[in-house]
Symmetry: C3
Subunit: 411 residues, 3 copies
């Protein structure tokens, strides 16, 4: 371990993000990527008049060769001038992110694949599988209800040969106040039959397969528990489709009790405004980890406080970094920049108050920046990664893998 790792310089492992887009974005398209709202800003207003909008003008504009606080118009004009690929390359490569854990399966046609992300960011990329999407794929492919459980088991096993974790959006589909226990196979079979046939007895079409049956989603979760996976849960802040009051991580308490000894690890994503609740769970449950991704880039000048609030009850070995960026390269950039700054300021404050030694600051920095995720995801046991670039999260050189290929993890 280096003895003077600082938040400004430490490599970051982004354990939860999506792909970037390299497309050319008009103003409406760009604005839609810098808000969790799925509506335009009201007439006469703009999504740029937000913490994230100001942070883009302040911190991303210079990366594109503009003055800080260039106007939104100037920024977007310059973005078009450079082109989406160049903008993404610049913004991603300035993040110091060495590893991206990328959720696949959400609007995949609009964003880069993991291998392409690795190229664009000069970093390694790993896959996270969205459980609900996996099940939906089977239905789209015409699975017979009585074959669902076995087919799902095979498909999950196959994907886990490549992916280093799974994610559930139970929060969106059924709320986190779901019945925590494992459903019986009979219950699952009945629910699958109902889902696959649809209400009118006909086969559903692609657009109709949205899985929101609690029995089936519980089956997907317990299949992941049985495989001792790293399981990410959407928690807290998200778009207008979520019932935020049903996304409090405390609602998972009984599920966490039942899975404590399973070998599975549970990663609570985002968590704002329930990050203190998440910190409590990370203290009392040995297999619980959490981050405040999304809330960091979206709170901009206020992110220091959010980050400091995560450093209360949670053990330092349970806190993770993520950007939860999707689409706009600016979100990865700000996620990393603001996280580095916020962690630095928190550590500075703790040093002023309590004289934290430089070595301990450095150690805590590395834990949160990448070591915790590496341990929790058992990355050193992984036999493969979609990888490129030459700097591993541990600061040592690693051999370049061919972009998109499966290269052995070397560190």
């Amino acid at each position: 371990m280096s003895t003077d790792a600082t938040p400004a310089e430490v490599p970051l492992l982004d354990h939860h993000c999506h792909g970037v887009t390299t497309g050319e974005l008009d103003r409406a398209a760009f604005e839609s990527l810098i808000t969790e709202s799925d509506w335009d800003a009201p007439e006469g207003t703009t999504h740029f008049d937000t913490q994230v909008g100001f942070a883009i003008r302040r911190h991303c504009a210079p990366v594109l060769g503009l003055e800080p606080f260039a106007t939104a118009e100037e920024y977007l004009a310059r973005r078009r001038e450079l082109g989406g690929a160049e903008v993404s390359r610049r913004l991603l490569r300035a993040t110091g992110i060495s590893d991206y854990f990328i959720e696949i399966g959400h609007r995949a046609d609009e964003i880069l694949e993991p291998a392409e992300m690795a190229d664009a960011g000069a970093a390694r990329a790993f896959e996270i599988v969205r459980l609900e999407r996996l099940a939906e794929e089977l239905v789209i492919d015409g699975i017979r209800p009585d074959e669902f459980r076995s087919a799902y088991a095979r498909l999950l096993d196959e994907r886990l040969r490549r992916a280093i974790g799974v994610k559930s959006i139970a929060a969106y589909r059924i709320g986190l106040d779901f019945e925590p226990g494992r459903p019986t196979t009979d219950e699952v079979d009945v629910a699958v039959a109902r889902w696959v046939r649809g209400a009118d007895g006909t086969s559903p079409l692609d657009g109709d397969v949205r899985l929101d049956d609690p029995v089936i989603i519980r089956h997907l979760l317990w299949a992941a528990v049985d495989r001792a996976c790293a399981i990410q849960f959407h928690i807290g802040y998200g778009d207008a489709d979520v019932d935020l009051h049903r996304c409090n991580p405390l609602l998972l308490t009984e599920f966490l009790r039942q899975t404590r000894a399973s070998g599975a690890r549970v990663m609570l994503l985002h968590c704002y405004p329930f990050h203190r609740e998440a910190g409590y769970l990370a203290q009392v449950f040995p297999h619980v980890y959490f981050d405040v991704g999304l809330a960091i880039n979206y709170t901009g000048s206020r992110s220091d406080e959010i980050i400091a609030e995560t450093l209360e009850l949670a053990p330092f070995h349970k806190i993770l970094f993520s950007s939860d960026a999707f689409g706009a390269a600016e979100l990865y950039h700000l996620g990393a920049l603001l996280f580095r700054r916020g962690l630095q300021r928190a550590l500075d404050t703790f040093s002023e108050r309590d004289g934290w030694p430089a070595g301990e600051r450095s150690r805590v920095t590395e834990l949160i920046a990448w070591r915790n995720a590496r341990r929790a995801y058992r990355l050193d046991d992984a036999l493969f990664a979609v990888t490129t670039g030459s700097i591993g999260a541990d600061g040592r050189s690693i051999p370049d893998g061919r972009s998109g290929s499966l290269a052995q993890e070397t560190s």
Copy 2:
């Protein structure tokens, strides 16, 4: 727009307050106005030993010609010496509030009418109608159940010719976890019949008309939605009659989804301690606005932090100013003073961290101080106001209206 508006000098539009009292207040009466408790402080203690009590002694005492931190006894003696009318005039006129949006219908006999408020404060005054009170008035006036819906529609339309918005206290009466959808006319008729006749088949008296039927309250809300009103909701902090855990604004999520395209705008009032939740709703729903009134004057020396916490997820064009003052002129004064200070400190912090330019600080200041409310309440479309004084929220002179008269909005 002026280019150097600062929180200290900008005119304020107080989009949610009540009337002031100009009566002579003994100690018990004054103490009851500076707490949300409806009980005396325990023996040997005083409601002055609170953040708001200290803030009154610090900031209001000098306005009355006393030293800062005069004792409670000295303060109240001086208050009596000057008289309630003079005290109110001094404290209100020092607020820099140019426009009061005044809720009528709550303990109206104890406080000034909007026109009188305009006089006392040298400002314009506008009316906000309390929906539940409107319905109760019909019942007090002996409405026949089968005439309720049509009479209510006529009464609401009539009041909306004068009022610029409505308020619901559903939080107090039924909790915010009410069924969000529009009730059928049959459901409403049945509920009204039950309410009007009372349980024993007799006509209710004035004291018995308290409306707490969820079907009827939903009818009132949807009538306001149909008229594309600005609808204020009591949220969060209030007195001991409220079940605060049923006042979380997230409980309105489905109602907000259903009303998103209606043209109605929803103003979440107070919100503490759920102001971060309110900020989320203000981001994801295009028609949602919020403030942290009441919590500002009541948290005194801690209000800086509350105000800063509102500047996280919420777009800057969705945050409003209010005092939620009732009765004591001190509460308007502190609401304005502490809001100005807290906003200034937040902006200073953002400038230190991220170099927010003066022009942007000024623009955000004006948005929150008055522009957002003006836009959201469609004040420029209003044909009338109960108005007096000569300074409009836009800083330009406006013609004096006769106090209490309906004068055309000129700016």
Copy 3:
């Protein structure tokens, strides 16, 4: 009242703590005492890598003669070298705690009795009775169901001749969303019969008597209300047995309404992360008090913010100090040290912002440090205390009582 009491020097009344252990602790035993988790830290990690762990190394190490930030190994070696009794004596006596209110009845065989605590800490000690344990004792002793109510009444009265308050762990056993009203005697008798006989009709053994029947627990609470007791409630943060989302103090709102005029006082313990909600209840209900014990020592370098957050809506005459320490002497030490520091910093901030005079800072300090608890628990009316030492909470000398004896309260 002294006119210059500062948080650094004021005596503290710790209104909620448990006994200390003077046993020799190996690493596993010590680590288990500095977390609310009942599991070991994951392999490769340690419970020392937490705010409380860092605070121990920073602040307790020097009390044991080590440099600040000695390693965990050095700290534990030194602890063994000095011996558990000497370590406890040193750490407790440096707290400046003059009075311990000690809950008895939780793992009593592992920790010191109140009289021994008084000796170890050179302070006075008072007993708090755990209601659920009292009822369980009757069952262990073979009470006949039809005698339960009368026997419980006698036992409670007997214990209250010695104890100065009671505590309920309803939060753990039934959640705070219990039916608030008083159960009928018939309901209680039926529930007791069911509990005592067990499901199979046999008498329960010691290990089986865990009381989690809501009717019986409500009976215990109302018996305490009838006696106008000081009633402590576990709220918020605790170990993994708690459903934290059912420990929000707002869930007690209706119970608080019903008990408002009873003469009972309600002390909300811990409260984190619901301390703002607790502050609201302390404002609107005249008989509600609260603290943020446990969260202070466990948040270490972040405790300043937690303490400041308690100073918002709550009247200054409703806030209490507690450590909620159990077992490890370090937790009392940090509870006191961090509380003093956090209160000082909050008062300094308020003075910078609003010029709080020294006399008022001093007055607020004494209220929170000990005067509020003395008033709320009616300590001056108490005829006895388990006591030792010579410094009372009021700073005057008091006669030594014999350790373990009942000595008259003299101040």
